[in-house]
Amino acid sequence: MGYGSTGKYLRVDLGSGAIQEESLDESFYRLYPGGKALAGYFLLHELSPHTDPFGPDNLLVLANGLLTGSPIATATRFTAAARSPLTGGYGESEAGGYFGPELKLAGYEAVLIRGRADSPVYLSIGPGGAVLKDAGHLWGHDPEQVQDQIRTELGDTKVQVLQIGLAGEKRVLFAALTHGLRHYNGRNGIGAVMGSKNLKAVAVRAHGGAYRELAHAPQELAALGQRLAKEVRNHPQSWDLHEKGTNALVGGLQAAGILPTLNFRSGGFDGADKIKWEAYQQEILEKRGTCFACAVRCKPEVRSGGPYDLNSAYGGPEYEAVAGFGSNCGVDDLQAIAKANELCNRYVMDTISTSATIAFAMDCFEHGLIGPKETGGLDLRFGNIQAMLQAVEQIASRQGFGNLLADGSLRAAQAIGGNAVDFAVQVKGQELAMHDPRGKAMVGLGYAVSESGADHLVSIHDTLLQNPDSVGFKGAQALGLQHALPAGLLNDEKVANYFVCENWVSLEKVLGLCYFGPAPRSFMQVVDVVALVRAATGWDVDLQELLRVGERATNMARVFNTREGFNRSDDRLPARLFNPLEGGVIAGASISKVEFEQALTELYRLKGWDPASGAPTPEKLRSLELGYLIQG
């Protein structure tokens, strides 16, 4: 009987070529069960402060969630982490798909990669062991070719190939990782870190076997999995994700007046009808894909062909890309949006930061801060499809004006000068996702305090918690939420709700559960998650212990950032959000600076963080069994 974990991890030094297998015991995993917690532990212990993100000493961690690979819908995710070149702080990005489960069944919870290879290599992990192989012939090639070539070389079509693309090779600061050409660790520039190490790919093949061999109570876990798979179709929220994926959001956010439009100037887009779900379904949808053992099947894939010669090999745009390259860039052509998404996927870079940085440049262009002379002739007006697509190409290859944009909107704004920084809609250097906090206050708080920069998946969106009789709020009551509150409200009780939900979502990243699994976002109830952990591990955990696991992981990321010099002044929102929305049905809505600062102070108090610095207090660290991280 196991505890849901192999206990083992691989340590790889690309400089010397040394590869070692190491392990940690069960008591360690109870504190740091996987994913975000495991990655944070290794980054804190093995990375000196102020390490150059592109230097050989930066540590790239691939860490599985505790439940990743188990026969549970949405238990698919792994964390990729390093010091982020985009933010300079704690860098983290999760992905679902198949890589994590394959790594688990290959025998490892994590892979730690340090050093820099003299020439391009890829790491192969499989039944025969782990070896580094030459990748000189793969450098510069597209993911589709690279995946085929590696599978051919290893003689196995089932090898999972996690790889960088052109953007990672060129160290675009928001370069991503992909595997299966469909699944992305999108945020924080982890792909650029991997590229700086001359590591093209990590190929993994399991030994065979199954998660049940690792589990404490495999039959109980299987029974839970079967029941939850049925719940997917019987629960309204997961039914919706199954039917429409994330793209149902376009119509709803437009109707609510918070669909990011023209670089977050407005919350309403005149062309919304042309890019919302119904249009998506008619114009570009081919079919839906999925992740390992997941009945939700939320991932859209587009039809090949059309005016932009779309390639279905790279999946299809999720909501973030549709709004990012659509409303936020003023584009109402789904074919063009799908092409921009495909280019990002082919070059392997984050669709959110790419599209938001282009929207920023369009705003600067329309305000006369840059012109054709600076952009090399790119007519970067909102709505110009050709200019948008050219900008994507130039960013990936760091050519022309794209070289500036490849450093993200904050650095580009600093280079452009004037008041350009007011148009950079980012936090800690990372661009906002396509969710406007002027209509959902908790999302703004999350953007501000997130250790990895603006991130929309650090807590629950307020909209789910407005009505006491709604499915969403009822799902959250098990976390201890007492009252349903209006989405735009930011009072002390809202902050308390945020805090509990943040610990819950952090736990999801530790367990390897997708955001589209647990309540209040989807079908898996709080009691189910506790039952899953108990069945997998045999530990007598309760909800409070699990919430502390999530809180511990967040605090480790916060300590990492404190060591790097981050403080309260970095937990701030971009200027644009304090301005009124210029359009949409709630035009005029803005965030109050006074209310926001009060909320931040209250959140620090609840978290046990110093109100001036934003650093965890010694008492808080001790209470989370992190006393060893107390500095000075």
């Binding site: 309204p236 929220q237 039914w239 919706d240 994700l241 039917e243 429409k244 994330t246 149902a248 959001l249 119509g251 709803g252 956010l253 109707a255 609510a256 007046g257 909501y319 996702a433 969710h435 999302v443 929309h456 998946l457 629950i460 969106h461 909209t463 789910l464 918690l465 407005q466 009505n467 006491p468 009789d469 709604s470 499915v471 969403g472 955001y515 589209f516 209040p520 976002r521 049905v585 709630i586």
Partner: protein
């Protein structure tokens, strides 16, 4: 006739999980009543737009020719 669209997971509750309806009405009618007849729980309705304007579900009566869009709470992702 009333043109009614159930966005997001609201269609989950409707007959045959349909999302679009043309509902015959010939006089101003309580929107909540129409939704109850369709089986849509009012607690799941977060956004109501009639002819593009946000309105409050509790006090809304719709009339022939109106275009009604309804959405549930939209979470992230």
């Amino acid at each position: 006739m009333l043109e009614l669209h159930l966005g997001g997971h609201l269609a989950f509750y409707a007959p045959q999980k349909q999302s679009r309806f043309n509902i015959p009405i010939d006089q101003p009618t309580d929107l909540g009543l129409i939704l109850q007849q369709l089986g849509v729980p009012l607690a799941e309705v977060a956004i109501v737009a009639v002819n593009g304007e946000l309105v409050d579900l509790a006090s809304t009566r719709v009339k022939p020719g109106d275009r009604v869009e309804l959405y549930p709470p939209m979470g992230g992702g």
